[in-house]
Symmetry: D2
Subunit: 448 residues, 4 copies
């Protein structure tokens, strides 16, 4: 089966010069990335987080960018059949495919490869989001980022839907990492809340990255998909465009996200910033959050703890707390003249912006010690979890592990003990990988 | 808790003369009806089909129509709390409340009470729908009516969602009786299909009647709610505004609907009409449809059978068949110059238009015999099922039964035997009432 | 040339019962009225105010209402050619034609012929406007009625455009009597003002009546045309839907309008009402307004004078004054809870609501005396001017005059002298009829 | 008077990096250009084409780009008062100011200064237009470019309005050079045509260039203003985005435009291209077009003549001819798969793309001879007229002339004689400068 598609959105209007660049990109090593991301979105609704398995299944899938007088065509060979209805692609998937074209091939020709300057990293983050039409001026703060695991149990999943429903009833929009589990539930719930309030402007923003999109393919509710170049810019995008954060149960990725935002909010320069952070889950998750909270207390201290609120098994209370928090955000931004659509004034240090390559050397060299100020400690802890995510589901990480065995992590004994315990609980609770697969740890905590 | 609301839609703009009429209506015997219907929509999402139970629970609920310089206000005393979010009514419910005001109080002042002339009955049906903004010119035939029971099992419910999803993917809009079960599932499925295709114009029309709205309260997905005065105008509304019909498993109400449409389509004057009719359910419903089919064969004959198609456990095939059927409808209406938005040319005889009062006398006098032409036989069979629906869930019918015991039904022996069997199977399959309640038959088949 | 058209707006959706009513209307004596009004809107842009001349020119023009399955068609035989572009009717004219169908034939079947009860007269006025979609809830007070002559000179016309431009720049919408001259200028000017402010929601409402539409055909800028049944309902419509009034130079019609609004505002029950009234014209009109002002002073007194403001040759000041006046209107309506879209609380006595038939007997019997309270005197003076308008340009009045000679007007000597002087100045300034025609007075002031 | 404004459109969303670039631009030599263009649009409606005079009048006008957390502010000191209503800037002018910011400061940081490669010149032209949201996919060919003089007489101006009206009635959109005269009339007429057809989507595109914007400030009807970097890209923009061309009477600028499009269409590679070209004016312009036609015949020959059609004094015929021509364009583009929104396949040689600097040396060196092929001859003739436009109204040209006296033009004797005659007639007909000023020729034809 061969099919040719027109891209939608701003990929509809390309000049021959741009199309040629796209085609050059598409023949370079970038091609494999482009193909795989396209396959991931075509494969939405699939029930595996094993990218390799998907690639295996669709070995004869090919994609090509064709130049036409009117712009560009995307040619698909042997695409997954469930992306089509009566031979016509589902429009939402056509949008996602166009987003891949835009963010992988087109955006790639716009920025230099290695930007080290913070101001420019932020500019690139902003520019990618703006180019994706995600930045909307003249809107009040109502975008809630929901973080949480892609592999959560049924009770947790239902709870994320309930929270999304309560957020939707109150007119809030949802931003997530765009995959399954806690990234899908809040969106699904919000659609019902929005529908009951006849709110047809509901936004469901999904921010992903090339190395994870296959393992966590965009769920079909996502109406605005953006593929950020790396996890650091993805995290920066989350915290700059959203106005509040809810964290559901999850695994190492969720831990990475929590440490990221705490590290930034612990920065004295961000003291005045308003950003409601709520950790929440069903009654059965109480112990989970207890453990997380203990870990934060022991590593980053009570100041870090004071930055978030834990609410157990009360979706309505979560939404009400968020509502009140967002009112504070509005008041603050009005007072300071800050933009509503992008939090320019939040300070994010280089530690959190520069991509961390999850090599064995980097993992081992990562300094974990109480000598560090809490913000830096948070940054370094974040890197450990980030590396384990890579080792679990990102192909670069998986390859590393295959070649060199598990990452070795070391540091302050007390922290290492806590971390080992935390990671073990993630494994036990099946938060590392989707149930059904056997999880082999990609890390080894060196305890002295 | 007391709250005052502005109505929405065309109830926003009323003159003092009209408001006075409304208030007079609201103080008359109509008031009880108005109050009960309002309570029903405020109580959306409730899990009982026992109207009395609802009324019992909210005895201290009151509603009043207040006159203001700007129009009218709806004052609620002690309304169900789940209709509100942080003290503000959910907008969809506010719309439904306005629809009750419009269709019960406002429309009531517009028409004469007992219209017997078919042309005028059709005019009233049209006028009520037009006044509710349901009639849309300049749209192609894409409205699918889904009929089926309010009390269906989980497997059946999931299947109705699946069919709705496949219809939504193909851009079709949904019209149902607006309650739970098979009236909700197709809408819920269609929202997902519409969302995936980024179709924000999806329509979810719910047609109900005052005597059933409490037992089958409008589900919150319904965006266009209309309360027709009686079951006959409700049925006429269904067949004139929609372009195809899908029938899911159900009980006596569903049987009534099937006999209604078959009776009309059997009318020789409607021979050229195009109206795809599909009976469908999951694999477990195969036997159910087999039984229905046998009943039709034995009573109305093979010509009636040829009017519908039975598709078991293939939601995609249902949608594809409907698609092809709707293309025929379009072609036919183009050729004949018929309107797309209202099927004026379909002939509906007096037999099917005049309200049937479910009294014991009428039920007993109803002639069931092979001497009748098939259209008339269908009309009379329809009345029997209609009466049993009333005896089961409509308050007028329930009162009758309470006073005089079960309806007595008689007629041709062979047909009576088949009917007894069919009804018994509905009882056994819990299609008469929602599971949990004990069902006592409100009918007695007299077999000679 | 024969052509068939679909009506637009709510005339698109008619039931057979309604179409039959329309057709019956169209074959009755109403037909001539319908035909003539239709001809008038087809003839927009013509340069005569002599209805007879137009009718003479298009004697072979015929119009028919045809019944189709989908609704109704308007069939035109030999319509004026300039209503068409390449054989297709100009869309704005198609809208106006549909408005004639709606307001002459359709509305005619809805109301009783002679309503004497004030509340019901107001209801009918409201209902006609609502049915024409002119009543818009949820808008702030920004509708300015502009009154003034259809026959004004070039300098005055340019000035009305300038005022309209300044109103348009400030976001105000315009309502006029829909004909040429001072009814067209403000709309034309406002379109430029709206365009410069990129305001695409500008409204240009034209209110007319059957007996004057031919002499003052709707100018093509009018986007919302309503044909009220008589001058009294037309005047009531003006003052209830608009939020401020500007009066440009004009003839007897303009005098009628001024006396109408002053008479109403002089009613003690309307003491608290806010309604900015501005009389304005170019420098060359200063004497004209001086004369009007003197007439008001001498007849209705200084209290009446205090109700309006005269601004000469300062379009910007007019708009600024109106802006400040409309702010008062908003404040007042907020305080009192009055509707923004229709001034229900303004009291209009029967004197001003009941149609005045311009017969010789009525004109002669009309009591003009200082014994009357000022509101009643204003009402009676209004009737005199109303009668002269009829004698000048309405076919009923023209016929009266043709048969019985000029109207005889009598009353208090001092007032009669002032009136004679005022009317003579209108004649001299060519305000009675469009220049080019010779004006023969249709009245005779009996001075004792 | 000091005022701060928010830009609108895509200038609302800028990153600090971009704002800094803007500010650097604004402090560079580009600043004078930015200031002058801003002054020009603030001064819309002024009645002089003498840029110097305007600059003189507003010497104390200053403009600054300020950085704010939310983006950028434009600070104005002592701006022309007529750009404001009650202290608030007219929204259309705010849009034009934002367009200046976008096209002068923002776009300037995006492209290299001297691009010589044709493909890249076309890309820049496209990118500027796309960035201004002027390129709209999914629209049928309906954009008509109207060329003609800024200094035309009243009869000619009225005729351009009449043609615009007829185009507007037929749904066509208008693109012009955005100044007064023949650039304003067609837009003004089209607004009436669009309004009568209730077409609220009418487009009024104005393409200008920095060096002429002050002399020909954008008229307020222009809803989409783009400032192209130079006349060559401006001309390319005209011919690639529009689907037909109408040429009204004008002076040297109009002659430049005619020679430009003829030169391109004479290119054998463009033989199959469809582009209706109509020369038209009122009866009094017949002789003018006769002269132009003779000049074309004598220089470029009958093949060039066959590319256009001359229609005298028949606005309706012009619109009908254009309509039929645009149907051919649609057919052609469908067949070839060409884009509707940008004519990528039209070949424009370097001769027509590279900016021509109007120095005395370049003017003298310009080869005018029958030895050249007609396309090249057209290109060179175009340059002569382009130079004279500069000498007349562009500040760079005016300075050249002030320093070195009139340009000297030489070439084939026969052509030079014709040109001298043509230019003399432009002078005599007051087409060089607005009436009121004394015109001193900036050229001297060297005849041997």
């Amino acid at each position: 089966m061969n099919i040719q598609l027109n891209p939608v959105g701003n990929m509809k209007l390309l000049s021959p010069v741009e199309v040629e660049h796209l085609q050059q990109s598409a023949t370079s090593q970038l091609y494999q990335l482009y193909r795989n991301c396209s396959l991931a979105v075509l494969n939405a609704g699939s029930h595996t987080d094993d990218a390799e398995e998907i690639y295996q299944q669709y070995q004869d899938f090919h994609i090509q960018v064709l130049r036409r007088e009117r712009g560009v065509k995307i040619a698909l060979e042997n695409p997954p059949q469930h992306a089509f209805v009566d031979g016509k692609i589902i429009f939402g998937i056509q949008e996602h495919l166009s987003a891949v074209l835009r963010d992988i091939l087109f955006a790639n020709t716009r920025y230099k490869q290695h930007i080290e300057d913070g101001v420019n990293i932020t500019h690139v983050t902003f520019d990618i989001l703006r180019n994706a039409n995600v930045i909307m001026p003249d809107t009040v703060p109502n975008l809630v980022t929901c973080w949480g695991g892609h592999s959560i149990n049924e009770v947790e999943y239902k709870y994320t839907k309930e929270v999304g429903y309560q957020l939707g009833l109150r007119g809030f929009n949802i931003c997530t990492g765009c995959g399954p589990g806690a990234m899908k539930g809040p969106m699904k719930g919000a659609t019902i809340g929005h529908a009951k309030q006849r709110n047809s402007q509901g936004r469901y923003i999904g921010l992903t990255e090339p190395s994870i999109i296959a393992a966590e393919p965009p769920n079909p509710i996502v109406t605005e998909l953006v593929i950020m170049p790396d996890i650091e810019k993805r995290l920066e995008a989350f915290v700059r465009i959203s106005h509040g954060i809810i964290i559901f149960p999850g695994g190492v990725g969720t831990a990475e996200e929590l440490l990221y935002i705490l590290g930034i909010m612990l920065n004295p320069k961000n003291q005045a910033q308003k950003l409601p952070i709520i950790l929440t889950g069903p009654a059965s998750s109480a112990e989970y959050f207890n453990q997380i909270d203990k870990f934060i207390a022991a590593t980053l201290g009570s100041k870090a703890q004071s930055l978030y609120q834990i609410i157990i098994s009360d979706a309505e209370q979560v939404a009400k707390t968020m509502k009140s928090g967002l009112e504070d955000v509005l008041t603050y931004r009005k007072q300071t003249g800050d933009a509503y659509h992008f939090n320019w004034s939040l300070v994010i240090e280089n530690d959190f912006q520069l991509p961390f390559a999850p090599t064995h050397a980097n993992m081992l060299a990562n300094n974990i010690s109480f000598d560090l100020d809490t913000a830096t400690l948070a940054a370094n802890l974040r890197r450990i979890f980030s590396g384990i995510v890579a080792g679990n589901v990102k192909s670069e990480g998986i390859k590393e592990i295959r070649q060199h065995g598990p990452y070795k992590i070391k540091g302050d004994g007390k922290i290492m003990a806590l971390m080992d315990e935390l990671l073990a609980s993630f494994v036990k609770q099946q938060r590392m990988k989707l149930p059904g697969s056997q999880y082999t740890p990609c890390y080894q905590v060196l305890r002295k």
